[in-house]
Each structure stands twice: as structure tokens, then as C-alpha cells.
């Protein structure tokens, strides 16, 4: 299946490491965007070590004072319109973790 999950908190949802999909996307929204923008004790978030395509919502980065220039290169920044395209074109099923 083509599965995209939304990570909306700044901790790693326990179920994340158990999920498998033919195409797997992790969409960082709300407080999930800190995973893309911050290091903790110099280490990138463990969420970013998952085998997935990563997206972060630009509106939620900006709201929190997080600069798009500073985010992890693995992560593609998209806005709400980009998210709509992702939902209809790239993935089929979704989980809001």
C-alpha cells in the first residue's frame, strides 16, 4: 500500500517503527515539524532515520519561528496546497499518529 502518516508531536510515535508500506511517507505537521528543524544534543531526530519520504508543512514551520533554510536536507517543505496534491496523487491511505 501507499501509506502516508502524519506526525504531529515532537516525540516518536511508538507505532512508527512497526509500519510497513510499498511507498511510505512521513508528513511532519504541527509540533511534528520540530523533528525536521531541531537537533537534540547535536543529534537529528530518530524519526528522520526511518526509511520513508519526509515532508514538513511550511505554515507550521513558520508559525513556530523555524526557518525553512535550517531544516534537515532529507525533508521536503510543502505548503497546504502541496499537501493536497500529495494526498491525491502520491498516497492512498493515511494515519494521523
Amino acid at each position: 500500500m501507499k501509506l502516508a502518516v502524519f506526525v504531529n508531536e515532537y516525540n516518536e510515535p511508538a507505532i512508527l517503527e512497526r509500519l510497513k508500506a510499498d511507498r511510505f511517507g512521513i508528513v511532519l505537521v504541527q509540533n511534528g515539524v520540530y523533528h525536521a528543524a531541531l537537533k537534540n544534543n547535536g543529534e537529528a531526530s530518530p524519526v528522520l532515520s526511518r526509511d520513508a519520504e519526509f515532508y514538513a508543512l511550511s505554515e507550521d514551520l513558520q508559525s513556530r519561528g523555524l526557518s525553512e533554510g535550517n531544516i534537515d536536507p532529507k525533508v521536503k517543505v510543502i505548503d497546504y496546497e502541496g499537501l493536497v496534491d500529495l494526498i491525491f496523487n502520491d498516497y492512498e491511505k493515511f494515519m494521523w499518529l
Partner: protein
């Protein structure tokens, strides 16, 4: 063009999830899609009449009214969730549907995509 069903169970101000659901609806409608928004749990507070527009609190009544005008957006409250909270039809903004929970499943049945925002 497709149909997106969003279920949102989080509350008006207590979480930004309703803000997310409304903004995603706006973007989807703008791109020509059809959106059903199902509100359950504290999410039913989105339709409460008489909300005040304070800058310290999310005010979504305005954007929802605009969305309803497009004809491509439906929003429906979970009847039991609303009644439990003392929010009956007279407390609910015009244009909101009120249905039992099976309505959400029926909407999801005919949707191309479903995004269910379940947590608080």
C-alpha cells in the same frame, strides 16, 4: 477531481487540529476537490454559535462560512457528541449538518481519500 473526507475529533482551541482541518479543506476546495468534514468529540465546538473573534483564540467560524459558500464543502457534527456538551441545533451555526456516527462512515465510503484526525 476527487473527494476528501476529513474526520476531526479535536477541539476548537484546545488543539490546532481543527485549524489544520479547515486549512486543508480550503486548499483542497481551491484545487477543485470536494470535501466532507466530520466533527466528533470536542471537534463539535467548531459549529457553536456566538464565537468571539479574539486574537488569542482560534476563530474558525469565518473561514467555515466562506467554505460553505463554495458548494464544495460540507461540515457535519456528531449528534451525540454535541448533545452531550449541551450543543443542540439552536446552538449550531447555519449550514452545519447534524447526524449520527454512521454518516461519517457513509462519507468515507464514497471518498477517494480519508484523513482521520483521532487524537486530542
Amino acid at each position: 477531481m476527487g473527494k476528501l473526507t476529513i474526520g476531526c475529533f479535536s477541539s476548537l482551541v484546545g488543539s490546532m487540529s481543527l485549524d489544520f482541518a479547515v486549512k486543508l479543506s480550503e486548499a483542497a476546495v481551491k484545487k477543485g476537490h470536494e470535501v466532507d468534514l466530520w466533527l466528533s468529540g470536542n471537534g463539535v465546538m467548531l459549529g457553536k454559535t456566538g464565537q468571539s473573534k479574539f486574537r488569542d483564540y482560534s476563530y474558525l467560524a469565518g473561514p467555515v462560512e466562506e467554505l460553505l459558500k463554495t458548494g464544495k464543502f460540507k461540515v457535519t457534527n456528531c449528534e451525540a457528541c454535541a448533545k452531550a456538551r449541551g450543543i443542540d441545533k439552536s446552538d449550531t451555526m447555519e449550514g452545519f449538518g447534524i447526524h449520527s456516527m454512521d454518516w461519517y462512515l457513509a462519507s468515507a465510503f464514497s471518498a477517494d481519500r480519508v484523513i482521520h484526525i483521532g487524537g486530542e
